[in-house]
Symmetry: C2
Subunit: 115 residues, 2 copies
Amino acid sequence: MESKDAVACLSALAHDQRLAIFRLLVKAGPPGLPAGEIADAVCATPTSTSFHLKELDRAGLIHATRSGRYIRYAVQFDGMRQLLTFLMEDCCQGQPELCGTAVKKARALCKSGSK
Amino acid sequence: MESKDAVACLSALAHDQRLAIFRLLVKAGPPGLPAGEIADAVCATPTSTSFHLKELDRAGLIHATRSGRYIRYAVQFDGMRQLLTFLMEDCCQGQPELCGTAVKKARALCKSGSK
DNA sequence: TGCATAATTCAATATTTCTTGTAATATCGT
DNA sequence: ACGATATTACAAGAAATATTGAATTATGCA
């Protein structure tokens, strides 16, 4: 991942409503959710939700698939993985001991599967 | 960390020059670098660099300390740790198997202490 | 004190991003 | 084919961010 891709991802996540959408989709998992349900969940208009979904999609953090009349959105885990890896790379560069806590903690969270 | 704090961090990092500054400071480690050197390194004017440094500072990702005539900036590792933890929380929520790869990979990078 | 250096603050402009409402497209059920 | 639903696309105005240059503050040194 290059700097400009990372900036695109970070910009996409750097918005209250989009971060909420993203977290919602992470919780929803692979099957994702239709745009309408997402709009309801974050209390936003269809137009505005559609705009934000497109932003997240452009950044490669989510993807859309049509299912009948609905368009379902789901997290693109690979995009997120790349972003985290990019940030971790920076974090650890040269002095792993400094970020050790962060990574260990994150890993613990992951294993327990909850917050 | 709350959503608004995460948005502040993500916004701060979501800018080419600021991301470059941040990475530079991560490499520089705890002693950090004076604002002037940072400006030179990213080829930016003092004014613009100062503006961006303030943004990163406000988000809690770096901090400033005066050292004589110079003002040194260094990464605030705790701020970064909180952001990563916040993102990981989301990532793992309910289905640890999905982000396992990301975390394992990040950890490997960390252990080897290189890119 | 007075001058030079390091960095910030301020104010105006330019640029980007967000929001809102309206119109358009696609699909389903009858 | 027609009407209803789900969603996106477009356009205009509003709001937030970024850039620039000039002025200001703080420090060190002679």
